[in-house]
């Protein structure tokens, strides 16, 4: 006979505010099989776990039901707790009365009623629990990093440092990410290229790291320790191994009018191109959208000039398949589309730019070689207006604004103001802001320097309209000063918009492939907002950099190193404990029909001839199904297919599920 203990968690007020936890514990007392029940403020705390352990011993419990947060949060915690006192961890069930009850319902009476039903269902299932023992899984001691920005590079370097092989998949022709596009970095104003390009070289030269640039992750299958990943190596039309990066082809290519994405299309590049001088890998790529040879069959100049014969117009996309033990998502960010904010005249005047474009305008490797010139007439701007929070901190609006704060804009705008004043002290600079947010080491000092030392005009308020005047070439900025409560008119030469950051547009596709959760803004969600900030809820997938939320470079780097430490933790193990919730046939019922093998996506099922005892002391050889425990992933496809009902799934058996159904319906 089962002896079940039910433990109801208050989770502070997270559960207790909408569920009468005492009533749930009380109701448990009349559930068949339950011999003990209790409620406690924090079940997952050490004292909460102790309560569970002591009760198991004191009341001789055979099963434990915890009514708490989602099993995705703490199932492991509690299983470990009961295991430590010798109970089989699979004799424990969780009733999810937080995420799927107290947090989604407002009415306490209804919430309590539902929580009681969920508790009863968990007890019904627990009654049928059987002890399970997991097998061990091997670990592929290699890691995959998706995204080669500063986050991905740092993670890869740290993992390689520990001695493991790493592949970086980067969609662009070069690694480096946004940091390589920045001019200088706050708050120290060191040149971004000077710190990021040596990192890129380190990555390129590290013999444990392989860079798969100009590539996409196409498919991710498997699980922690054993991911099978398909990677598409997009056709570059240039042999990476042969190309020396001399750049002769890029000089001779006649197709020179291709918008240059590296300079955010502020200038143009050739069709065969190396994104920038310090690109890693430093190899050329042909842009198939513009190539005359690929599109019209003419030209072919690059192949003629290339001294090493690296050009190959016949190249095709190639799919490679790799195995990894752990994956780091470091897909970074993009600048949000602000074309719908017509009031700022972005798109109407080339002199209205985003801050990232301003970085390129200032950069020595940028379109104007580091001379700050405005794009329309290449004259030095004398009056510049910066507008903060464009598209950030917006209520959800038709313009596609973001509710969150993009976090880095206040600081980089102060940086832009200081750098501009440093080079062109007679420039007049106005910054319109809602709040200036400078939490960070040396951040507020930096901002105050902009105001006090450089005399940048910070105006708390907003810009209502920017009107480009063709005749004068000026941008008329109409703003509002909230502190003086007056309208302002500024005739500016340039307007710089601190546009919101948003996750990479590939992030959702990646998250889906990785079965990793995301938030409503498409940032990856961490397994726990405070305690597991670099892990995804999906085991073996870790997060680094802007793909998890807005952050600056130091924060990105720390997160990347933390994610690397977690990856190393996985790869350092020789074996991981497997999942015991797998399929098994009842051999007496199985008639060897072979249907189950047909649906198993992992090929886990084979058939063997076995001897069975028959009446009158005779025996008979019969074919029966056999499940490979290391290969079965426990999806259960076979269990439903089996016509004789022989196949069942441990941990989610037919009887257990039906017991839950009964408990919820009756």
């Amino acid at each position: 006979m089962q002896r079940i203990g039910v433990f109801v968690c208050h989770c502070g007020t997270n559960i207790a505010a909408t569920v009468d936890v005492e009533a749930v514990a009380e109701a448990a007392k009349s559930v068949p099989g339950v011999v003990f029940s209790a409620d406690y403020p924090y079940m997952c705390s050490e004292s909460g776990q102790d309560l569970v352990k002591e009760s198991v011993q004191k009341y001789n419990l055979t099963n434990v039901v915890i009514c708490s947060c989602s099993p995705r949060m703490h199932e492991k915690t509690f299983r470990k707790a009961v295991e430590s006192i010798g109970m089989n961890p699979y004799m424990l069930e969780i009733a999810n009365i937080r995420e799927q009850c107290s947090w989604v319902h407002k009415d306490k009476e209804e919430g309590t009623e539902k929580a009681i039903m969920l508790m009863k269902a968990a007890c019904a299932k627990a009654t049928l629990n059987t002890p399970l023992t997991p097998g061990m899984l091997p670990v592929t001691k290699r890691a995959l990093v998706i995204g080669g920005g500063i986050a991905g590079m740092q993670a890869a370097l740290d993992i390689a440092e520990a001695g493991y092989e790493v592949d970086i998949v980067e969609q662009k022709p070069t690694i480096g990410g946004k940091m390589a596009q920045l001019d200088k970095t706050f708050p120290t104003l060191d040149c971004s290229s000077c710190i990021v390009t040596p990192k890129m070289v380190d990555v390129g030269q590290n013999d444990k790291i392989r860079i798969l640039s100009y590539s996409d992750v196409e498919e991710v299958k498997g699980y922690i320790g054993n991911f099978d990943v398909k990677i598409k190596r997009k056709a570059r039309y240039v042999d990476e191994d042969k190309c020396t990066g001399c750049g002769l082809c890029t000089e001779k290519c006649p197709m020179k009018k291709v918008p240059n994405e590296w300079n955010l299309e502020l200038d143009t590049r050739s069709c065969v191109y190396i994104p920038f001088a310090q690109a890693v890998p430093k190899v050329a790529t042909i842009d198939p959208r513009y190539c005359l040879k690929l599109n019209k069959g003419t030209c072919g100049i690059c192949s003629k000039v290339c001294g090493v014969g690296a050009i190959n117009y016949e190249a095709k996309d190639e799919i490679i398949e790799e195995k990894y033990g752990a994956i780091v998502a470091a897909t970074g960010f993009e600048i949000a589309d602000i074309s719908r904010y017509d009031e700022y005249a972005y798109g109407q005047s080339p002199d209205v730019v985003t801050s990232l474009e301003y970085e390129r305008l200032m950069s020595a490797a940028g379109p104007f070689g580091g001379h700050l010139l405005r794009p329309s007439d290449h004259k030095e701007p004398k009056k510049i207006v910066f507008v903060q929070c464009v598209g950030s901190r917006e209520e959800e609006s038709c313009k596609g604004g973001k509710e969150y704060c993009s976090k880095v804009c206040c600081m980089y705008t102060a940086k832009h103001a200081i750098l501009t004043k440093d080079h062109y002290p007679d420039t007049d600079i106005y910054v319109f802001y809602i709040d200036v947010r400078t939490p960070g080491k040396l951040f507020d000092e930096f901002y105050r320097r902009a105001v006090e030392q450089y005399g940048v005009h910070y105006i708390k308020g907003a810009v209502g309209k920017v009107t480009p005047h063709k005749e004068t070439g000026k941008l008329e900025v109409q703003g509002y000063d909230m502190i003086l409560n007056e309208q302002m008119h500024i005739d500016a030469d340039m307007v710089v918009l601190a546009a919101a950051v948003e996750p990479s547009h590939t992030a959702r596709r990646m998250a889906t492939m990785l079965t990793a959760p995301m938030d409503n803004n498409d940032f990856f969600t961490e397994a726990h907002a405070k305690l597991r900030p670099v892990e995804s809820a999906t085991a073996g997938v870790f997060l680094a950099g802007m793909c998890q939320g807005p952050k600056d470079i130091p924060e990105t780097v720390s997160q990347a190193s933390a994610a690397a430490a977690k990856v190393i933790g996985v790869l350092a193990k020789d074996q991981l404990v497997g999942n015991p919730c797998i399929a098994h046939p009842d051999e007496l019922m199985c008639n060897g029909c072979s249907q189950c093998a047909g649906v198993c996506p992992y090929g886990a099922i084979t058939y063997v001839e076995k001897e069975f005892r028959m009446p009158n002391r005779t025996t008979k050889m019969r074919r029966v199904a056999q499940v490979n425990e290391a290969v079965c992933q426990g999806c259960g496809a076979c269990t439903v297919t089996c016509p004789s009902g022989a196949m069942d799934l441990r941990g989610f058996s037919n009887n257990e599920i039906m017991a839950e159904v009964d408990a919820l319906c009756l």
Binding site: Q100, V104, E110, T512, P601, G636, V640, L649, D662
Partner: protein, 148 residues
């Protein structure tokens, strides 16, 4: 939102959710403090393909008014192709229910990913409203196992 205030009839709704996508989607609805009717009670299964049509019939027999199956979007199944099995099996079940003269609208398959807390809520709101409209399930309910 609860249907309780406006109507007498409180449908019993069982939602089978796959562990990887839909169950996490339901969790996300909670984490984002969204809200759906309390009528919906979730049963966790590893994959939507673990849901035997027999479980659905069992639920109806025991008095459920609606049964919904949620899995990962086609192509995104954690186990590669489990949800395709679900789709085929359930299509068969739907036609069987129709044949028996039972509204097949009482059960449905929906794809909800781990990132779609809002979609989970929308699906559950819609399903609960439809089932409330259909009224209590009497045809399949086994009166021998009637509530009290």
């Amino acid at each position: 939102m609860s249907v309780k205030e406006n109507t007498e009839f409180q449908p019993t709704i069982v939602a089978f959710c796959c562990n990887w996508c839909s169950y996490s989607g339901a969790d996300l609805a909670g984490t984002n403090r969204l809200s759906y009717p309390t009528n919906v009670k979730i049963i966790r299964v590893p994959c939507s393909c673990r849901i035997n049509p027999m479980f659905v019939l069992r639920a109806f027999q025991r008095g459920a008014d609606g049964v919904i199956l949620c899995g990962c979007h086609p192509g995104d199944c954690h186990y590669m192709e489990g949800n395709y099995h679900t789709r085929r099996r359930m299509t068969l079940l739907f036609s069987m229910l129709n044949y028996l003269g039972i509204e097949s609208a009482r059960t449905r398959v929906e794809w909800v990913s781990a990132a779609e807390g809002q979609r989970f809520v929308d699906v559950m709101d819609d399903f609960t409203a439809k089932i409330t409209e259909l009224g209590p399930n009497r045809r399949l309910e086994d009166l021998r196992c009637k509530k009290n």
